[in-house]
């Protein structure tokens, strides 16, 4: 071997270093166009924030019945991240022409970020043709639609019901069948004064929690933030009535002010028995009650929400996560096929209910004998679908808009001020609306 001089060694090393630097740079400049996968092995890149979705999809691709007749042999590459990070990184990757996921789980409060500047249209597969055969049987498409075009399929029909401690209701003589919120608040005020026990909670932490709690009651009352066209409809008698109701409840102690429905303060309220009831979506059973107070198994029950005397629904909705298929990718077709099988078939919906407790988004399944017969042991063996079925039939529609986050930011503080008695509900809503209009027209 010839002598290797120091100079040659340095030259060789610098050449190799430059090569190493140039390789990714050149790769980044290239396009990642590849042939679409039409059949056979399809390794789907899936991004989600919730481990239950991972379990669901992993089980689904192994379920022979669910995958029967598919021309794809699915595999999964999972990336788990926080909901906001999924959206941020997905958009950043799309800008850089990088590795976007094939299937992305989009939290409902992140979706407004893609409702502007045609981002959803450029990123996601239009699901109009996919959902058309299902017609009105498919529920909760509206929060993930832009200009009437659906881009995401909801994972669970997050139905808000009333959770209540049957033992405490018995002890404190609160009837389980109270018809209206107004009656309910009267009993709550009595319980608060006599026993320091509340029959509901109101979030007073971050703006998102505050506004979501308000929206949940507002939807039940028949109001909303936006209409189908994305126009603000908050300036309504229903909004004022709901905020007055919440304010009254907090002041009387019937509704307990807590930072959020999941944190340590809420856990303390549940454990101490100071929270005897709360209006929350079905997912709160696992994420809130079973997580914080497993020892209270068998004491909780659910029922449909008491009505507002002025009208509205017997149920509401809050939260949710939709899955969207990224367009113009080799696996777009395969991703859509996987989503269709897991999210739009009876078998897929039953499987999702079993693995994550996600309520069906197909309306006929609320009469499905298998689901109706299922019992919830945490709820004392209650046949929960009897309640969910009635609630699903009267579930309000919920629309979002690109400016949802702005509304949340400007309204949160105002609602809190009203709840704390620092301003009146009328003044709070007016101030919130004024600030919203200023920021949106900017």
């Amino acid at each position: 071997m010839r002598d290797l001089s120091r100079r040659r060694l340095l030259r060789a090393a610098s050449g190799a270093g430059l090569g190493l630097l140039a390789a990714p740079a050149l790769a980044a400049c290239g396009t990642s166009a590849a042939a679409p996968v039409r059949s056979g092995r399809a390794q789907i890149s899936l991004w989600t924030h919730d481990p239950d979705y991972i379990k669901t999809f992993r089980s689904a691709i192994k379920d022979v019945g669910l995958m029967r007749g598919s021309r794809f042999d699915f595999g999964l590459d999972i990336t788990s991240s926080a909901p906001a990070d999924i959206m941020t990184r997905m958009i950043a990757q799309a800008v850089a022409d990088g590795n976007t996921p094939d299937l992305a789980g989009l939290n409902f409060d992140q979706f407004p970020r893609v409702m502007q500047s045609s981002i959803a249209e450029n990123l996601f597969v239009d699901l109009t043709d996919t959902v058309r055969p299902l017609g009105d049987d498919l529920l909760k498409l509206s929060p993930y639609s832009v200009d009437g075009v659906p881009y995401g399929l909801e994972s669970g029909n997050a139905i808000t019901v009333l959770y209540y401690r049957q033992d405490l209701f018995d002890t404190y003589n609160v009837p389980e069948t109270l018809e209206t919120w107004e009656e309910f608040l009267e009993h709550g005020a009595r319980l608060s004064a006599d026993h320091k026990v509340s029959v509901g909670m109101i979030s007073t932490g971050d703006n998102g929690s505050i506004v979501n709690g308000f929206l949940q009651f507002l939807l039940q009352r028949g109001g909303g933030f936006f209409n189908t066209a994305g126009e603000l409809i908050l300036d309504s008698p229903e909004a004022l009535e709901v905020l007055e109701f919440m304010t009254r409840g907090v002041r009387s102690g019937a509704l307990m002010a807590l930072p959020d429905p999941y944190g340590s303060a809420c856990a303390a309220a549940l454990k101490s028995g100071r929270l005897a009831a709360t209006a929350m979506p079905n997912w709160y059973n696992a994420a809130g009650l079973q997580a914080n107070v497993p020892e209270q198994r068998g004491r909780w029950r659910i029922r449909t929400l008491p009505r507002f005397a002025g009208g509205g629904h017997i149920a509401s909705t809050m939260g949710g996560t939709a899955f969207a298929v990224l367009k113009d990718k080799p696996n777009s077709e395969a991703g859509l096929e996987l989503l269709r099988r897991v999210y739009l078939s009876r078998e897929g919906q039953v499987l999702r209910y079993r693995f994550g407790g996600y309520l069906p988004t197909l309306a006929p399944l609320y009469d499905d004998p298998e689901l109706v017969a299922s019992k919830d042991e945490y709820l004392g063996g209650q046949q929960a679908f009897e309640i969910y079925s009635a609630a699903a039939a009267d579930l309000p529609l919920f629309y979002q808009a690109a400016s949802m986050q702005i509304l949340s930011d400007v309204l949160g503080g105002q609602i809190l001020d009203a709840l704390k008695g620092r301003t009146s509900p009328t003044a709070a809503l007016n101030a919130g609306l004024k600030a919203y209009r200023q920021q949106v027209t900017r």
Partner: protein, 322 residues
Amino acid sequence: MTAPPPTRAPVRASLPAHAPAKAASPRTSWWMRRQRAVAPYLFISPFYLLYGLFLLVPILVGLYLSCTEWAGLGTPKWVGLRNYQDLLGDHSFWTAVSNTGLYVVFTMAVVMPAALLIAQALNARGLRGRDLFRLAYFMPVVISPIVITLVFGLFFDNEFGLLNAVGHAVFGFGGIDWLGSPGWARVTVVILVLWRWTGYLTIFFLAGLQNVPKELYEAADIDGAGPISRFRNVTLPCLRPVTAFVAVTVLVSSVQIFEEPYLLTQGGPGESTLSVAQFIFRAGFQRQQLGYAAAAGVLLFVAVFALGQLAMRVLGVGRDDR
């Protein structure tokens, strides 16, 4: 044909003795002529390439974006200085500026002196368990933000919080709405800043104190100086370089404060604890107003740069004549 440059001969001379004498091609001869002049630049070029790529390019792109309207996808729309104009009329931005100012003033006026006093106490002769104290004061910096959020949330909760419970049990008063009242929420954030960063800054002051010559204290003792006089006339002057360094870094980092208000209150209630860095985050990653966020980022950059420069000049960082 011109004569070869004078540098060529030494280069030739440096070749190994057994190297074959080749006829120099024009390209080779250019390289041979220039390599001594070019080589140093090649050696330092990686730094400048990386500096340009990761510092200058982002700054220039940020400047460009600040003059556009962009939601993150598609082509940015040029709007000139409109984002800056909107920022100046945005009530939320001024709330964030005001809150950030409060955090900066508190950090400079309370956290730094507290760190110095704790360091002085830890430096006392004959203190037992010094390392344990150091560990205890440093601990908050390394605790996970998730834990901080959970624990402080429970400490400061209005209904079930430890502070209100203790206040009620001991003083018969415990109804402070720490996180729900705008004023108290700001106090809570600065308490978290105090708790989290005082111990960290103490380490710097402690290192400085251990380098103060003992002879100076002995001389002060002989002159009849008391503890306060010794602190004022010996300790503080000797700590000047450390203090200057700490002051500049604390100033620059507290202007960009993000974690504490984000963890504890997420900027709430309303916007009462919102910082400028949070304002930028909110505009960019919650509202997809990336041009607007970039404009606020540019203003923050200018503020940080100006304050940093001012502090360095006033405190004489890097100058030997002080």
